[in-house]
Amino acid sequence: MKNMERDAKFRLDRFLLTNLVPLIFIGLSMVAIPISQFSGSYLVQEMLIRLARNAFLVLSLLIPIIAGMGLNFGMVLGAMAGQIGLILITDWKIIGLPGMVLAALIATPIAMALGWMCGVILNRAKGREMVTSYILGFFINGLYQLIVLYGFGKVIPIRSADLVLSRGFGVRNAINLLGIRNCLDNLIPVSLQGIRIPLGTFLVIGVFCLFIVWFRRTKLGQDMRAVGQDMDVARAAGIPVERTRVVSIVISTVLAAYGQIIFLQNIGTMNTYNSHEQAGMFAIAALLVGGASVARATLPNVFLGVILFHLMFVVSPMAGKYLIGEAQLGEYFRVFVSYGIIAVSLVLYEWRRARDRAYARRSLRGGEA
């Protein structure tokens, strides 16, 4: 009897702990939405746009989590590859969907090379993948800046005067992506009661979701799950652990490159030296807000996370303005929340693991069990 009560309490605590972050966000949104005075249809429109913008990037995080490598902060590498593709097609003035596809084709080999390098390095830092990939992001950012600031215009020819800095080489800070702006979102124009639905992008995202569902059922997906749960057992069974881990990072990096291209076609302008940095942080924060953890993330986590996270972004500036007459607060809140949520999720995850271990020990208590 006592045991059953303990078990029930443990399960309830566990549910609350697992879902603490989404619950906090739902609570905050419920308070902030009425204060912000936004109309329902406006919010729905915003959420649809942002879902199209962000979901692909967030989805690219799933595969390394399956392989037990945690949150892939190294997705920034893929984002950089995507941006290099976008700079080139903008210079070549290839517009519309062909432009996007070409950008993706250019980005693919770059992302594969970067992902392979990242995977090999992470294999040497087992158990510390997240911090290693985070720092790796800074390192590759240096290389990216070198290429973009000096390489473009000097080594790689850039013709368009709109792109090059006035000194003759290096790419300008802001790039107008007018040529491909919304070209995927508006590919199939659909409108429902005045709300535009970016169906083209949703289709791509849908295909990606199907890919992930299918991927989990492949031999490679099964191997990744095995490696993610216990590397030593997987190795003893003859699964090539290191190679599997590298493949998971390569896939994630390539998908992140595509995700960044979709993200930027939705925004329509590219911040050459900053866009990729934010991509990683916000995608990871969104996934965690959706209730994912370092070791477990599902498709519903992705969509719930993107909606809750962006709802907060849209609502908080206005709520801030009406509450204390300061819209800046929302902007501040946005950054504060994304870093804060990552920190809280990581701490909660470790805490929960410690609790689970303590719970597993209950059978050792000679007197009680």
Binding site: T218, K219, L220, Q222, D230, R365, G366, G367
Partner: protein, 563 residues
């Protein structure tokens, strides 16, 4: 011929076994044994762990392999499986034949391909996978699809239906009922063990199965089912090497058994006439080189100074489940048992180094478990079995090592200045202390400033003891004091412990894997088996008596020393 004999044996668990001629001889004459090991030996860096081991194993035969920890069982299995460690340390002597062909695997995968399966002590299962998924791990049934042509074989899709069926039929072969869809993380321990065995037999062409203490984690009824499964497998022609410390099981389940001691086969016989006591005696035996002379003196002890009630300790690999004992003032109390049974966990738990629970009273006052300071403040010191990890500050000089605990916990060897605002180490007092112990324990070193890591194992152990003595403990835990040090130094270390007990009246609780060592200096010896006290014996008790407790063959009620 062999098959029919076999079924007789299986049917009646040895009762109707023909006592002669031994049926293995019959088999030997009629067919080549599945496995033949001839004169196998192995030495690691001049340290001989296996000498001239020879035995053979017929098809469908179950062979029990028993021996103490360190008797050479693991080395023998490492050789059989071609573990890289064997080749890296210079290979092995002798020959191994499987199916009449000489084998020398260069890695375990070759052994698996040749049809040798191994079930380890610790589970190697993926927790988030179902039983069936684990059973076919990396041998999944798959279907082709278009993408395979582009990206290769790893993008084949899994055939979940077939995986389930294969898993289920492997489980059925064992004769147990486990849901093939159940996740391993939700299984009771026994089911995990069966899942592992099912994985080995699901592999095509498994001829020989090595089970390394498969029953250690099982309840009695689960163990009985497992033994039944083993006999079913043997009836299908799979040979089994069964490693176990539970002798009754060896007798019940095996056709024959061999006993390894100090790397040699000391006993080999059929199980039909075997007797637990006899095997236990053969196993424990007499160790070479340890003097056994005990000074018999009228030893009188005070009241109980430390009492543990229902102590549990979550120390990985040395789990203590439910231990109660009490130690009297001035006594040397020994804790023995085989490795992994939990004897090391007791001291570590009371000292707060691993999560623990239960009640521990020291001089009538409770010790707060999970807090090392509580035990240290109460006047308990600990010489850890992990000398280089927990015991010593390897980079620091000898003198600081000796003074360290006293300095940290008792604020000794410190001097204050500026009205107590600043505290300094009292180097002169520390030097004096170090000189004193270097002399009294005969620590061989250049001087007290030498770094601890430069000393030999025996001298490092003496520094650990000096460090513990320096806090003038009322009670001292010493774990594995002679592990990894040479024979001469062993005696010196034991003498040091004994002398400290006699001179200062310090109560000592010594944990050791070496039975002879415990018997030579302890006043009472508790034997820990499967995380519980199997019994407490006087050191003068018969060696076989200890052997029985080590193996959990009998639950002897506590026998106190008559005094």
């Amino acid at each position: 011929m062999a098959e029919s004999l076999k079924s007789v044996i299986i049917g009646d668990r040895g009762i109707l076994t023909p006592s002669h001629p031994s049926y293995t001889e019959v088999k030997g004459m009629t067919m080549e044994p599945l496995l033949r090991i001839e004169g196998v030996g192995k030495a690691y860096f001049g340290n001989r762990v296996l000498k001239d081991v020879s035995f053979s194993l017929a098809r469908g035969e179950i062979l029990g392999l028993v021996g103490e920890n360190g008797a050479g069982k693991s080395t023998l299995m490492n050789i059989l499986f071609g573990m890289p460690v064997i080749r890296e340390t210079g290979g092995f002597e002798g020959k191994i034949y499987l199916d009449g062909e000489e084998i020398a695997f260069s890695n375990p995968f070759e052994a698996l391909d040749a049809g040798i399966g191994m079930v380890h002590q610790e589970f190697s299962l993926i927790p988030g996978f179902s039983a069936a998924e684990n059973i076919v791990l990396n041998r999944e049934s798959m279907r082709n699809n278009l993408l395979v042509e582009v990206f290769g074989d790893r993008l084949r899709t899994l055939d979940r239906g077939d995986i389930f069926l294969r898993g289920r039929s492997a489980i059925e072969k064992l004769g147990v009922s486990i849901d093939a869809d159940m996740l391993v993380s939700e299984m009771p321990v026994g089911h995990k063990q069966f899942t592992e065995i099912a994985r080995e037999i699901e592999k095509a062409g498994t001829k020989l199965l090595v089970l390394d203490e498969p029953t250690a984690v099982l309840t009695e009824s689960e163990a009985a089912i497992l033994l039944e499964s083993m006999r079913r497998l043997a009836a299908e022609g799979i040979s089994i090497i069964f490693i176990s410390h539970r002798l009754q099981e060896v007798i019940d389940a095996c056709d024959r058994f061999i006993v390894l001691r100090d790397g040699e086969v000391v006993k080999e016989s059929g199980t039909e006439q075997a007797d637990v006591r006899e095997i236990a005696t053969a196993m424990v035996g007499r160790k070479m080189g340890v003097e056994e002379a005990r000074e018999e003196e009228g030893r009188a002890f005070g009241e109980a100074v430390l009492t543990a009630e229902q102590l549990w300790v979550d120390m990985p690999g040395e789990t203590v489940r439910d231990v109660s004992f009490s130690v009297r003032r001035g006594e040397i109390f020994g804790i023995g048992g085989l490795a992994g049974q939990g004897k090391l966990g007791i001291a570590n738990g009371i000292m707060g180094l691993f999560p623990a629970g239960g009640t521990v009273l020291f001089e009538g006052k409770p010790i707060t478990l999970d807090d090392p300071r509580s035990a240290l403040r109460a006047g308990i010191a600990f010489v850890s079995e992990d000398r280089r990890g927990v015991g010593l500050l390897l980079e620091e000089p000898i003198k600081l090592n000796i003074a360290f605990t006293a300095l940290q916990m008792q604020d000794r060897f410190l001097k204050k200045s500026l009205g107590g605002f600043l505290t300094w180490r009292d180097e002169a007092a520390i030097d004096e202390l170090a000189r004193e112990y270097i002399e009294s324990l005969a620590i061989k070193c250049v001087d007290a400033d030498q770094r601890a890591q430069e000393l030999s194992g025996g001298n490092q152990q003496k520094i650990c003891l000096a460090k513990a003595f320096a806090v003038r403990p009322k009670l001292l835990f010493v774990s594995e004091p002679t592990r990894g040090i040479d024979v001469g130094a062993k005696k010196l270390v034991l003498d040091t412990i004994r002398r400290h007990n006699r001179e200062y009246g310090t109560t000592i609780i010594m944990t050791s894997s070496e039975l002879e060592e415990l018997r030579s200096i302890c006043d009472r010896v508790a034997v820990i088996q499967e995380g519980r006290v199997a019994g407490i014996l006087p050191p003068t008790a018969d060696r076989a008596e200890f052997g029985m407790l080590f193996l959990g063959a009998s639950k002897v009620s506590e026998k106190e020393v008559a005094s």
